[in-house]
Symmetry: D2
Subunit: 475 residues, 4 copies
């Protein structure tokens, strides 16, 4: 940790060095720029690394220009780096948000399984798509961990990339002493849902924000569960039964409304359906929750899933570039002004907490050290944590009811097996996990063919595996 | 334990009192009669209890008549009992083999799920049929345990009834100090398979019997696994890879050969397929193994399963009375002679071991006390055990590879949940397990309807449950 | 939880009902009065129960008089109760600080073992004194738990009584759904020590308060350990080695200075000696730490312990009434003014947090739910926790190094056995724990005699035990 | 495994290659010679390695001469080896029984602690002597394990050397795939005691042998416990209470009788005293049991321990050469005839079992794989096991009562810490275990001095440790 020397103006600022892997992105990187420039008590340097160096350079240029604005904290410097070692050298924090070329990978993850009758709503965490994405990510994250070990062994690594659990777990498997957490939005949505419930059911409650909701979360990323929620000491779970009744059927929801723009629509129908059956609220978006069991996505036509108020994210939605580049041109040319917003992201608050400025409590993905005692030790789980200058300390979340635990364990076991397979380069072992994915309900022969076909299509991204020796590829 | 007084002729015989629940059966009860009458160093009384008293009385009559034969140990007395308390009073051993009326229960277990596209090869352990059978069995086995606690608290209870795991587990849940084990044949078949392999691959091996095969078994009943096998110190697993190759496709097997008589045919195709993928041999019949994962029974037509050398057991095969009654008439009338056979059953050897006569090692179903440390403590598991005058001591079997453990755990968790549901009379809780059955890959709404329909058809046998308060029955 | 109605003046106050068991005390009860009257956003009623009703009444009188002072929050009412049920009826919070008559119990706990060569510095937690005190406390705390279950099942119970672990553990054993924590000062002292170290070693650090120290605590009450400490992100453990050197021998310490007034002196010599040997800092006063292992109190004369900068607390120091009653007379007569102080106690902050007003992080004694995964689940341990309107959630503290764990486990096992013995009324079982107390290094016969003698002297307070059937009392 | 070719005479013999480390001994090696020559169905070669090559050569000469005797199995060859690699090359079995020069090591282990007031009855397992002996043994056993890994990776290693637990544990720590067990006599003595009890209490029981006693053993070597014992199904624990009464005071025992010849006398007084207090019978000799807790050896004069019917083994008893060499001369010169005896040792039966000839059940020291689920996984524990051609499979022994577990755990934790210290060469870590030895009740300063003095005296045997960097050696 670097502390600023005694110049009067910076006395109250902690100076930090941030390395950003995937620093050319228009999403997470812009959010970071937005957030650090609005934070008064941090200062320092952000080194942006990206396989697309130009993109990182554009982000650096944009951000440096913004530092001169009067509403920005000017004590930041941004720089693009061609080499990841340079970007991470002596970093206090490392942020990761990376992605393989979508058309060569993610598109297959989604489209090929559909030919075998397996539909996924997201395909980035579990199911056939999640398995392949995990296999691709593990070698990449080993390399990141190795770079951290060498360049900045004490840095805090903050990961945004999916599959969240596998990426974060890989960091710890490669470099057990790493300081790393994974951050995900999904639980915030659940807090917003509960804030809304507080407003509607608790007397005198108004303008309740998600931050005010104390929710006990446990499980794993995208298959997180809430078993208690309070707003200023007021128990909110007592209202869920009533809320459940009102949501049958989806209030004011007409499946027809789900058009091409609404891939990310979420009506919490599955979250409540899980509550109905298991007594705990699913604490992630329905698109994610649906993929961890076979019951929701047992469909013959994509439209059927709309009964739950969600739709499949087609692969086309993934390749669409969006407005990123055009907007960036406008920013850089001065045709459009970058507007500072309240991003709602915690990353800067977390850095402030780790610098010892102000502790916070939030949910994180972190290896299980007892916070969920009924899940395997060392597996990456999602619970609340307290973050202080002393580091990240997960808060005990308690056990899951047996059948919920059983579903979560199936996913955890598969993730752990994929880690083993990834480190060993062993696709036959990976296929063991593939067979045990809940969405893989097809015949054992079809499962093998599907796996082999996916590997074949994404061969270029699986060069760290023993492709020759894999029996699964031969039938 | 009763010991014979000092009359010269009986000096070497241990005298035991056996209570038999289901003592009117033509199967297990006849085997017991066959076995005890051929055993020289035990003597005593067998009290036969059955809801069908006449059947028990016929068995007693037959057996008593046999005692006078010169090739029989004459020191046994058989008696039919109208009251289970009388049958168990002061018993040293209690044997259980019971069944509900098949047409009112088992037939539905098999036929109703087929209407929802769920096919089962046996339907007595897991899957929709296994769940319903478990729900029916739990109250019955609670009553048996309570009777044991009252009438013969130190007796050894030997269970043959399916679902083996749930029945045995219920005994311990109701009466934790009970001495009980469950016995099943399936592993013997695996030993026979391995004996055959020994003969074919090991030089000079000939006439190898199943008993000579040391096999390390672990897992749960009907989903048991073998990870090591030796014949007189000779490692047999080294030959499995070659054997696997020779069995692709099934040697000399034509699916067309599977006619109505061949419900129980088994070509170990699935046992070897599991070996192929997971490195451990499935140590139960393929009909059972197929039901613990969705890949084999993901079929649209019943015939498709024949690709694995097995066929579905139709419900008609279950209602067929067989030759039992006619044969019994012939025995009693003297028209046919009961022929003593080598049954291959272990029950008499086990009683001899528990009497301190001769220790044996065999596989049993018993609560997990560390024999499989990666499965939950207290769950009923299947491993080898040593049986001596000091009791039954399971032998440590070691851990399962992660993905095998994951599959087994799913079943164990469901069984444990069914126990909880059975003791609480809670069908909503039972439905949680139902949803997590690997064969239940149908849509969540269909799953609910199927469960409700099964409960409705078998209502008479589920009177210990809260049928009124169950939300699952209402949609 | 009661919320105040809408009168303007109280709009921002949470109204709470507090039941106080031991409400006649001059120590803890006065602190509570001091603290609640200085808290602006709580209001309500404090019901004081004490076996000495007069004392409770005096406290109530004093406190009510104080409410009219301008510097006090006047929205509180205090009342003395003759019946514990009345005191706890509908309480939101229950506070416990009780003690048996010292001359009939504690004096023996200290003096009798000395005749056997066993010296204790405190004798309220472990060792012969701790065992006897535990045996006396368990029936009392069972009764408290039963009263809570009946009168205020959802209340939060805050315990101050020693033996802290056994008392808190008893509450949960009797009433598993209780909400209870135990609070102790000792860790605050460690934080003060570390604050002092921060000031001396960290550049620019000045006026560091104990609250600013983030310390990771784990273990059990009075045998707590710290393995990490930070001040605003600045690692303090890096200075301990130097500090250790400077403290050899005790800086400026002359054992002769330990006069009659200095029973509570603490120079952290043992805390640092443990750090020297085990790498973790003892996080309790040396007087407590010394009692958990045999090495420090292996002395022949009481003075020898002064080598560690502490002295034995003689039983006379326990019977000394102190200035309590005289002072109280002065308060009530108006001859002396009760002065509000900054008590440093957390109890009011904790109540505010549980009311949803402001979360806090502090260390608490609480059943182990994973916060220290290498200690038995359910045992009461001491770690940090986050307290919010949703309750108390312990923070994961991680494992202890093996040999530290071994020492802590010995104490935990004894505490758990004492709980079993207390609930069963079984002194023979209690003696098993007694034999395994680290300070009980005397001959097995002497150990038995000592135990029997202590039981005999304190017979009146052990009426819940089977005194007749205890073999240990007979030799 | 080697199998004999087809010569008619040897058809029924398994041919094995045995490597013996410590093959010059007069004790264990002579027993092995005695046993293999009387075994009909094994044959092969025994390679004797010893640091004293002459001694090994003499043993080989003696044994080879014996093969020609008519009452011996002549199919064995014995050879002395100068190099341990040669002795172990391609071995099927490796036997270890080694010892450091007693005057330079063991004598100090016993005598030095006495100067600090610490008396040990054996000093080879725990306490100061046990710690030092462990530290010396670990590097030696690492080397043995490494040699096995290289020369005969699949061999079964049978260890007789103390400290049994630490030696066996070291083998597995160095080479996790090793096949190794440790064998010890102590439990046989307990079986003999129980056989005697059977004869005296059970009607008609006569000539009961130790082998006939089924005893459930658990714990660790020399601190083993029995919680059940049966003779042909007859529960023997029901008589222990009566037996206990009769043994107070020791029947016919006068401490004066313990002369210089009676170091190994054992009256089971401590075994029964433990039963009296904890409900389980100590299942090792009293000399060993006494060292695991501080109560028995809390003595001021060596004679005091005789109250328990045992005496200290003085160091002089250890240096006494006994009749070994003289006897050997007589054997070799033909002046005395080596007489075959019934040794009672199991090693040949175990080899026969592992060769697939005949399974046996006996107690062994083996890593914990679930056989004692309440002790740490991987620690070496002592329980029954079944040995077949498939290997050694420990039998589940169940949990220990909490306070017994607590005592055993203290020893296990120390043993595990010594392993860590031995592998790291870290004497400061070793001293952590030393401090936690139950017999180390002396002052912390005295403990340090004692440890440093022992290390200093045995420096030559501790060259694998970091003697320079050890803070404990400096005060």
């Amino acid at each position: 940790m670097h502390r600023l020397e005694e110049s009067a103006s910076s006395q109250s600022q902690s100076s930090v060095q941030i390395g950003y892997i995937g620093g050319g992105s228009r999403g997470w990187a812009h959010t970071l720029i937005n957030d650090v420039l609005q934070c008064d008590d941090l200062a320092g340097t952000v080194s942006l690394y990206d396989v697309d160096y130009e993109a990182a350079e554009q982000n650096a240029k944009l951000a440096n220009a913004l530092t001169s604005r009067s509403d920005a904290n000017g004590a930041w410097t941004f720089e693009a780096r061609r080499n990841v070692n340079d970007a991470l050298a002596d970093a206090d924090f490392v942020i990761c948000s990376i992605q393989d070329p979508v058309d060569e990978t993610f598109v297959h993850d989604i489209d090929v399984p559909q030919e075998y009758g397996i539909y996924q709503t997201v395909a980035d965490t579990v199911g056939p798509g999640g398995v392949l994405r995990s296999l691709r990510a593990i070698p990449q994250y080993r390399e990141i961990a190795a770079t951290v070990r060498e360049q900045c062994p004490d840095a805090w690594v903050i990961n945004y990339t999916n599959p969240m659990t596998v990426c974060t777990r890989t960091l710890y498997e490669e470099y057990p002493d790493i300081n790393a957490i994974g951050l995900c939005h999904e639980v915030f949505e659940t807090q917003r849902l509960l804030a809304d419930i507080a407003e509607r059911y608790v007397d005198d409650a108004a303008d309740v924000t998600a931050d005010e909701i104390d929710v006990n979360v446990k499980g794993i990323n995208h298959f997180t569960w809430a078993d208690e929620a309070h707003w200023h000491g007021h128990d909110l779970f007592q209202y869920l039964e009533r809320e459940l009744e009102e949501r049958k059927p989806i209030p004011g929801f007409d499946p027809g409304e789900l058009d091409d723009e609404s891939y990310w629509t979420n009506h919490h129908q599955i979250a409540f359906d899980l509550y109905d059956r298991f007594g705990l609220l699913g604490a992630a978006g329905d698109r994610h929750l649906a993929e961890f069991v076979p019951w929701y996505l047992d469909i013959d036509e994509p439209e059927e899933i709309q009964r739950w108020g969600i739709r499949l994210t087609p692969s086309s939605a993934r390749t669409d570039d969006g407005e990123g580049p055009a907007k960036m041109d406008q920013y850089l040319s001065g045709d459009a002004a970058f507007e500072f917003t309240e991003s709602g992201e915690k990353v800067v608050d977390i850095m402030r907490a780790l610098e010892g400025l102000e502790p916070i409590k939030t949910h994180v993905n972190h290896p299980n050290r007892g916070q969920t005692p009924d899940l395997p030790t060392g597996a990456v789980v999602e619970t609340n944590a307290v973050i202080t200058g002393g580091g990240v300390a997960p808060i005990t979340a308690g056990d899951l009811p047996r059948e919920v635990r059983s579903m979560v364990l199936t996913a955890v076991h598969n993730q752990e097996t994929l880690i083993d397979a990834g480190f060993a380069g062993d696709l036959d072992l990976a296929f063991q996990a593939f067979l045990n994915e809940p969405l893989v309900t097809v015949h054992r022969d079809a499962a093998r063919e599907l796996f082999a076909e996916l590997v074949d299509r994404e061969r270029d991204y699986l060069q760290d595996y023993d492709l020759e020796g894999a029996a699964v590829l031969e039938g």
